[in-house]
Each structure stands twice: as C-alpha cells, then as structure tokens.
Symmetry: C2
Subunit: 250 residues, 2 copies
C-alpha cells in the first residue's frame, strides 16, 4: 500500500500567508511532524492531530521517524517554515524515502525571499541569488565563492541563516566579500519575525549595516547596482528597478 | 487623503496556491487591475469588482492608470502572477507612486521557483540563482555574465522567461553558457502551466534538453554539481541534497 507524505511549506508563520493547498494537506494528514516552534504555529489550527515533535537538529532522525509512520499506513505531513523546497525538508524526505512505497508530495510555501521583499518594498525585481550563510552543512569556501560570484555579476542577494550561535561573525565576513564588488551605498534590508510577533523591517546600506540588528530569525537583502532607497508614505522602501521607465522614455 | 494600492502576487493561478492575504487584499479592493490572462483567473472569485484590463506590455501606462484610480480615492489591487515582487509589478508601482499620497502595499505570492520546484521534487534545496532570459529590459551581455557566474559558483539556476516570440534561441544560448561549468548530465527540470490546465513537469538533463519543450509559460530548473535524478513511486524527481545524510554518517 502506498501512502502520501506531504512536505508542507507553511510560509513565514502567519496563517494568512499559508496557502489553501498547505492547509488542505495538513487537514488531510493524520500525523503532523516538525520542529517544535513551527508546530506551535500549527497546533491551534489543527488541534486534533497526532503530533511528532523534534528538536531543531537531528533532521535525519526526525524524517526517519515520520517515514515510519507513513510506512505504517498513516498520512503524514512534515512542516517547514517558509517553503519546504528552499532550505527545508523536501529534499531529505525524498532521499530517505527512496525505495519505500511512500509518495512524497512537496507543497510550496511563501519563502522569506518573497515575504521579506514585500515588507521592504521591491528589492528583488531583477535577477537575484539566494545564499545560506550556515556553514554547518556547506564548507565556508563554497559559500565565499558564491558570494563573490553573485556580487561580481551584480545579482541582488538574499542571505538566509545570516547569524548562528557559534559563528556570530558570518554576516560581517559575507558583507566584506560582497563589498568587493558592491558599493558602500548599496541598499540593504533586514527583516525579522516575518508575519509573527516582533515583525520588523530595517532599511540601511552595506556600509552602515550593524550585524547586531541581525538575529537567527532574520533574512538580509542586498541590492544590485541599480537598487535605491525611496521615501514613501509608509517609510523608507528599497526598490530595484527593472527598466520599464527607461524603456518607456525611449 | 491617503489610499492603499495593493500589488498582489496571486501565485501560479490555481486558487489553492493564492494566500489568504492576497485573497483579502482583492476582497478589499474596489478596482482590480492587471493583464487580461491573470484577471480571467480572478474574476470568477470576485465578480462584482471594477476591472481595469490591459495588454501584456505597456506596463508603465497600466500602472499610471491604476494609480489615477487610487488618487481618486479608490482602493486598488494590481495583480501579478507568481510573486508581485519577483519580475512583477511591485517595483514599477512604487517608482511611479513616488510623491503621491498612495500607500503601496506589496502582497507576496508563490513564485514559479517555489511552485515549480515542488512539482519537480526538491531541486532548490541549496543556494540558487534566479535569472530572467528576457532581454527586452536587460542587455544580453549582462544576462550572459550572470549565467556564467552562477554556473561557475555551482549555484542551482532557475530560468524565468526562457522563451520569447522574437528570440526562440535564448534558452539554447543560455544552456551553452551554463554548460561551460556544469556537466552534460546535470539534471534539468521544465515546468509548464503550473497550477493550471496543461500542468506538466519534465525531467531531463542539460545535454538532452530540447528547447521545443519549453514555451512562454515554462520555468526551467538546472541543478548544481550534487543534484541527481531519483526514481520515485510518483515518477522521476530532481533532488539537490543539502548534506544532512553526509553529516549524519560522520
């Protein structure tokens, strides 16, 4: 017998940013698995489910336990914040499900690049690179190479996991690398706790960026050479133009 | 008086991939503006709105007309497919609203990188670059530079606008550039008509990619050096591992 295993991106946390498809998958599931912080956001919406709660690390064990439930015939949903397919659990579940009679169904969610950009204005209107600064699973020299390549080719850059307990200096090092090809006045946006209590959006520049403003729940946006900061009735916003006005003026 | 102007990402088109926040913004709006194809998806859900329909190009004019409605005191929502902040209208609306008593409120949506990745499996579990192949607003040499940089730094790559009427050869040229640093066996995924009639996901490789499979409604995913194709109970899927299994094996 073949059972479904949903890997569900719940978005940044607020129910109004979770898609109806994600809601339906959680509704259909008998067991909901995931990291405690995310389950806390889900439980009030689905109080009658069986929950499989685990710590932040130990991802392999967590997925294996959840897959055992699926093999026992239960419909499982594993939740990731943001999009389960972007630094989430979709890949690991697929890998571990190889050869098992389990259908892995990824359900997309709003990732921090999208939800954070909306709070900041429109920083990602042009080509962009998404880079995680976590060196737990990726050698730092690979991260470094990607930062330099993205900066040199004038990508907008979105940094996930910009700060960790053990390595508080990662963001400063990343900004130094980006600064080799991006000017000090390049707009930088920091968003924290998107769609949750304590939501905050900060607009600054590469030169002025204070890494103490950035925590583990932050996402950092760095503009390209065209990006600018615009005063609006709702405060400072970051805009990366895409060339429509230049085209219209021709 | 200050009025709200929502720039709403409606996701790929299926109502189950539109967030409740996007739904609420459209509900609140008095005027809904956008390209005809997208409005057709929205009208059945909100039959009693005033609609401001325009062609595919002429974006500046379209935004100006919609901003005039906002200045006349009406709550306006302009829709983009996917995420309004990723190759959508959020930036242009902000630019054109400069100095006006209009509060521009971007509402994030599920972009094709997320929705397409979910259909393909988990191709974007590691750092990735999003690049539009449209050279209407961007010089081709800039696009070329970004393709090469992304390939050299071993990013996964997502290509938006991989085909246009006037330039059918863009995708082949892009793949040749990517192929300077990515092997011929690199997995490639093509998704079409996500969440709509005719939805299709194709798994192939850089060497085997047939650009005739790609149309204007497609998004193309190219793996990094670790990406592989996995046989599953639901067919071939693309997986980019993130290193959890290697870490656990240590």
């Amino acid at each position: 017998m073949q059972t479904k295993f949903y890997v569900v991106g719940i978005g940044p946390g607020a129910p109004e940013l979770m898609t109806p498809q994600a809601h339906a998958a959680l509704q259909e599931a008998e067991v909901i698995a995931g990291y405690g912080t995310y389950l806390k956001l889900i439980k009030p919406l689905f109080p009658d489910k069986e929950y499989l709660q685990t710590g932040m690390t130990g991802e392999v064990k967590r997925c294996q336990l959840a897959l055992e439930q699926a093999q026992a015939g239960k419909i499982v949903a594993m939740v990731s914040s943001g999009d389960a397919g972007i630094y989430g659990m979709a890949g690991l579940v697929l890998q571990l499900a190889e050869g098992l009679p389990v259908e892995v169904v990824p359900v997309p969610g709003i990732t921090a690049a999208s939800s954070g950009a909306a709070l900041l204005g429109a920083p990602l209107m042009h080509d962009f690179a998404v880079i995680s600064l976590s060196d737990r699973l990726t050698p730092w020299d690979k991260i470094e190479k990607r930062l330099l390549a993205a900066a040199e080719a004038d990508f907008c850059v979105v940094l996930y996991n910009p700060r960790s307990h053990g390595r508080p200096d990662l963001l400063n090092r990343a900004c130094q690398l980006l600064g080799r090809h991006k000017g000090p006045e390049t707009p930088v946006g920091i968003v924290k706790n998107i769609g949750r209590e304590g939501e905050q959006a900060i607009v600054t520049t590469l030169a002025e960026l204070d890494e103490n403003l950035v925590d583990m729940f932050s996402t950092v946006f760095i503009g390209n050479s065209q990006t600018y900061i615009q005063q609006t009735v709702a405060g400072l916003k970051i805009v990366t133009p895409r060339g429509y006005l230049e085209e219209a003026a021709q």
